[in-house]
């Protein structure tokens, strides 16, 4: 049975993920960017992850940029990547559908590592998302499969390691990777 994940654990995991990304960059380049923060969350606010967004309001080490569209989020992520800044896109499945062309152009053809946290709003607990009564839930994983985007599901606190794992995977393969947030965060 999927469980909600406390927002504080997700924020802590994001901090660790960004620290690791900055350390890796510092070992690789001569002029990494110098900022006080650890990284960026690019958000088109997702109801499913709203407790994480609320927790991030009190987290000075992570900068949250709210965008008007997920298309913008992908393009901003490319600019941050070029400049050496780590980021996570926190969006909803509907936003993924809305921004497929930009995901293709930026993350796939542009080979920009972009890591997505995608909320599965309206996901039912008694069935697999692919069998959901709601098309916005049902089509999410098949769409990611169609575009060859590696993905995993966060179904409870034991899955938090997948955030770092898929973030790293996006960098290793120079492209998109993501986790689907199965239940509303707590």
């Amino acid at each position: 049975m999927p469980e909600s994940i406390p927002a504080s654990l997700i924020v802590e995991t994001l901090r660790d993920t960004f620290r690791e990304a900055r350390a890796a960059l510092a070992a690789e380049v001569t002029e990494p960017p110098r900022h006080d923060h650890l990284g960026w969350v690019l958000s088109v606010p997702d109801t499913h992850q709203r407790t994480v967004l609320a927790a991030l309001d009190k987290e000075p080490a992570i900068r949250v940029l709210t965008l008007a569209t997920e298309d913008e989020a992908n393009a901003v992520a490319a600019g941050l990547w070029i400049g050496g800044e780590p980021c996570v896109l926190m969006i909803q499945h509907a936003g993924l559908y809305a921004s497929v062309n930009t995901l293709r152009g930026v993350a796939i053809d542009g080979q920009v590592p972009i890591f997505y946290m995608i909320g599965l709003l309206s996901r039912e607990t008694d069935r697999e998302p692919r069998e959901s009564r709601h098309s916005m839930v049902r089509y999410c994983e098949p769409l990611l499969d169609t575009f060859g985007v590696p993905h995993a599901r966060l179904e409870g606190p034991d899955d938090l390691r997948l955030i770092g794992q898929y973030f790293r995977l996006s960098r290793e393969r120079r492209g998109p990777a993501g986790v689907l947030v199965g239940m509303p965060t707590a």
């Binding site: 380049v29 001569t30 002029e31 960017p33 393009a75 901003v76 990547w81 070029i82 400049g83 062309n101």
Partner: protein, 190 residues
């Protein structure tokens, strides 16, 4: 004002600013500034302003200049509010305004030349926004475009470009441009 003349004037004055051309400014910029701190928004029309915003936030010590198009900006008009909200002090957003989708055959954009990006940018919360209608005026404004605190939007009234992405030789693919600029910024001495 010819867009090529505007780009030449900017190229002469820009110093080490990062530039983000898109659509019809891309072929001319490649010819004017071939080995450069630039990345073209290609393959995701409308994304130039957001790409520039990401660069500006990552590298606040550098000026970032976006060469947007009027049709392109209309595709992601919300980026005006996103940019204004992010308040990048180092971002100059130039909109090359010709009233048409030149690349696809010069169909008029919605609203044509009536669309007022200056008013929109001011309404969104840009620190400054104004229109420039000729080359002499652009040359007079260049010091403030390159130095004034942003976000700044300048609507440049231009004629059609000599080339479009469909008529000009292809440039480097986006992924190669991304990697080239990343290397130039993060490993400048290697």
């Amino acid at each position: 004002m010819k867009p090529e003349d505007a780009l030449r004037a900017i190229a002469a004055a820009r110093g080490d600013a990062i530039c983000v051309p898109t659509m019809t400014t891309a072929p001319a910029w490649r010819a004017i500034a071939p080995e450069d701190l630039s990345v073209t928004c290609v393959g995701f029309m409308g994304g130039a302003s957001a790409l520039g915003l990401g660069l500006a936030l990552a590298r606040p010590e550098r000026r970032v200049i976006v060469f947007d198009g009027d049709g392109s900006l209309l595709m992601q008009l919300g980026s005006l509010a996103t940019i204004a909200g992010a308040r990048p002090r180092n971002l100059a957003h130039l909109v090359f305004k010709n009233g048409v989708y030149h690349t696809s055959g010069s169909q008029e954009i919605p609203g044509g030349l009536i669309v007022d990006f200056v008013t929109m940018a001011k309404g969104a919360g840009y620190r400054e926004a104004y229109a420039v209608r000729d080359l002499g005026e652009l040359q007079r404004c260049l010091p403030s475009i390159l130095g004034e605190e942003g976000p700044l939007l300048v609507e440049l009234w231009t004629t059609l470009a000599e080339q479009t992405p469909m008529t000009a030789p292809r440039g480097a693919p986006f992924h190669a441009q991304v990697e080239g600029l990343r290397q130039a910024l993060l490993k400048p001495h290697l």
